[in-house]
Symmetry: D2
Subunit: 304 residues, 4 copies
């Protein structure tokens, strides 16, 4: 199981002692608080704290706009306006803190988002647990033939099973040897050195804190279809949390970011010709094949 007994006890203790606060409070988040949401085979994500709500965004924005525009918009309208015009600073006024358990190779992608605060479990101080990520059979896929960085079709069952067997055997072997090297009778190698024998599917954990603007930037990149499956499932879980936390913001995010499409200058020219009734082909479009295909998929509402 993902959480240790001590962590479980700590969570229960926090749960049992609600206190009064005058800070903005979101009942749907209180219900989620501390509870680990399972991701992958041993991972989880849980909300540890949050600051602000939809109205905190509006409140901060109204400081900017002052008296001049108070009447102009209702709250949801203002949030949509801010999102549409990429006014990021009011969204930076909300903050969220997660406790995440995730495989090392996912952590390596995740950490590239620099606008966040992180406290990771240190394998220099402590021994890592014997937990490594094993994909579902359905996730064992070939290299994509069209996408240099992605996956294609699932392998046939026996080949997929062989892959899992390899992954499990090698991770186990490496972990066994890690433990072996740490033993005093074998010399008691320093933890910081022994851990270099571990494989990238080992689990780590961290506290991760980020403001709402940067969280949405993270989600726009990582909940997207080109993101690697193993990080995407974390992003999708956070997208659900986003909806519980700031529902108006989440709706605007889906309207203006996740569900939007940016037409390049050349695509706009093609669009105008199409709307004028002209018949345009890739050859006459001045777009690359890939751009043409992508634009057509958007216009025909097909998955990219």
């Amino acid at each position: 199981m993902a959480l240790t007994k001590e962590q479980r006890a700590e969570i229960t203790a926090q749960r049992n002692t609600p206190q009064e606060t005058s800070r903005p409070t979101v009942p749907a988040m209180e219900a989620l608080l501390f509870e680990p949401l399972e991701v992958l085979d041993h991972g989880f994500i849980r909300v540890v704290d949050y600051m602000g709500d939809d109205s905190a965004i509006v409140q901060a924005a109204r400081v900017s706009y002052g008296k001049g525009t108070k009447r102009v918009s209702e709250d949801a309208g203002l949030i949509r306006y801010l999102m549409r015009h990429r006014h990021s600073s009011p969204f930076e006024m909300c903050e969220i803190k997660f406790h995440v358990k995730l495989p090392l190779f996912v952590a390596r992608q995740w950490i590239r988002h620099r606008m966040a605060n992180v406290n990771e479990y240190s394998a220099r101080y402590s021994v890592l647990d014997r937990e490594f990520y094993m994909p579902d059979l359905t996730q064992v896929s070939t290299q994509s033939s069209t996408n240099n960085q992605g996956r294609g079709e699932a392998l046939d069952a026996s080949q997929a099973q062989e892959v899992l067997d390899i992954l499990r055997r090698d991770a186990a072997q490496c972990y066994d040897d890690y433990e072996h090297m740490l033993l005093p009778e074998n010399g008691g190698v320093a933890r910081e050195l022994a851990r270099i024998n571990l494989t990238l599917n080992m689990y780590t954990q961290w506290y991760w804190k980020i403001d709402l603007h940067n969280l949405m930037h993270f989600l726009a990149l990582r909940a997207e279809s080109h993101a690697q499956y193993e990080i995407r499932v974390y992003a999708e879980k956070m997208l659900e949390i986003l909806k519980a936390w700031v529902p108006q913001t989440a709706a605007a995010f889906e309207e203006y970011r996740l569900g939007s499409y940016s037409f390049s200058a050349s695509m706009l020219k093609v669009l105008r010709r199409l709307l004028a009734g002209e018949s345009v082909t890739q050859e006459t479009s001045h777009l690359t094949k890939r751009e043409w295909a992508e634009m057509m998929a958007v216009l025909e509402n097909k998955a990219l």
Copy 2:
């Protein structure tokens, strides 16, 4: 008065409806929440929200240290350890949000701290209020003869009064003309243009959100004796808030940062000679006059 009637009403409304939360809550901060603390003649600083407390720092640090060191330290000891060794990431796990009203020239210094989130009142959207900073008579001082960027002695009363008269007259004149230019019958100049006529002692306001680590960095620079008086008074108010919010962290901050002194390599050599009983003068110290004076002041526990 610093807050508008509408702002007052909003504050009262928030005060009246405390809600239950399972998040870390600090009673001393709940008491402070929303209440404007007066700074300078028309400014204020008020806490709008906070995330975390002393134990949230410990909790995050323990994720890093994992099982290995749980028993090692009690909480206060761990916080002191983190501060002493400049382990900044656990302190980044707390966040605070202020609403600040401050003169423009203070805002210009303040904004240089980039690791924060800001929403400022926009004079493109709204008309600025007729409020400008007038120093106390006692704060009207000469250019320091020793510090190129600081103040020396107070002016004599009549000269100081003349300065105040000038400041008041010019600010009033500029503001009157600002209002004049905005009037439709005078052409109704755009707000973004009319405001360029205003003086740097006008008040602005903003929401400012920052994590605890960066807040302490701000305070170390701005609560310090070389900081300009008008920003230092804000920093001193925030230092009080820090003590209410995270008392153990604030104590460690005073021990290891505010009350500490860094001896350079050459100063350490002098120190060793002094402790060996050698008589050292500035001339034989290889320190500059300024460094020598500063080091002596520290050793004799005098103000720098």
Copy 3:
């Protein structure tokens, strides 16, 4: 004139001693180097240093892609690909440093871009020059009736002239009093205090260093039609410099950012109905009036 005699001499000295380097070098930038490009009435922008070129972006990107995709794209194609897919890290591998002279109210907008390095002239250390920004008569405009933060029509000539007279008189008065207060015979007020009497159209100057990715983000916001005129002219000058520095990147930036348009989820639905031959009006579009007008302007290739 914008530069002092000493600054001129320094520039000439640097010009006269070219040295050999193996670093990426851009002849068009060498021609621009150190030379102040005039902006507004007393401002300027000049390139002080630069790091990298179009091929440095490609080189960094190829580290990411490794051997696998070397043959895939030529350089210009790779740059377009990176821009289209918002792969920002290769663009962060180039850096540019400017020396800028600009009015204080422009500096206040500019500094909000935090991902840059800044060294500003300090009015605590030094006395500011008697230089303030006076708009052209054609730039003295009314508050926009449609845009809460922008300008509308130019004022009629006599009203505009009155505005200029006011701006000039007040700035002069404030500066005269600033100098007066600094004089020893008037008490010799500290510079940090005297300067609070100055108006926001005073000029300041700074060194400003930023990476190419963040520069383009700055330009996308500040070379845009909604940006205030007085910062837009600086952005437009930097856009010219961009074309000299990294021409392939600048072309891709115009194709995929400046000349692009992002259709929201709801706009995409309208687009599909239009392409299917349906007649859609604002009322049947589910778009707000403003969104509808903006989308139509894009499709009809009119200025927004």
Copy 4:
């Protein structure tokens, strides 16, 4: 060898075509440029580009200080002054770009420094080379008994050899299986999935770009005795590069940072008692044992 043949050819090509530039140029850096400096068994660090030099720092600082203080200090003195007073912004005006080859577990520590730009080799796009880090026999050490995150004594030779045998066997096994899974005849698993089988001692590479202020912050933490050996050797190499690049800054950095020691408020009290001739012991010092030992080591000029 660390560099591929193609990379070698590229380096030679760049070397052969020096061009003229008016930018600040440092002959000692031109000599270093592009040349890989070996680190660990397969790693390297090479300077790919640099911006600025000691005088560029002075030039930027003089913008801040303006006319008022031009004569005050010579250049080296000004750099020392800036370093001593932690005026970081002038140091941010220089930038350096490295190409680094390093083991994954080192990369994981390194990337925690967020104020830098990174382009890493992507194992989603490309296949990793068969290169993994094997420590020297002398570096195979026990867990430190005094430092929870460090190493103690070297293991005896036979136990150390066993550790190396394990590390080599497991890394080889994991890499063999990685290659096996990638083969089309075995299903051709996607690269992004196959790589999760690799161990943390595998080598990766990246371009890493950072400003001088943040580079020194990195070096202060990573060239320090508590840093893990395998990252420290990279930091030490960069410290040499620093001396070639900005010798005056490097000297000030050693004087005021690397060779300095910060006395806490309580330590200062002890110091004053000692200088007054009082005999102080740990028990009467109000310092913890660890603090006392550290302070005594500094005063006696012993390694910590």
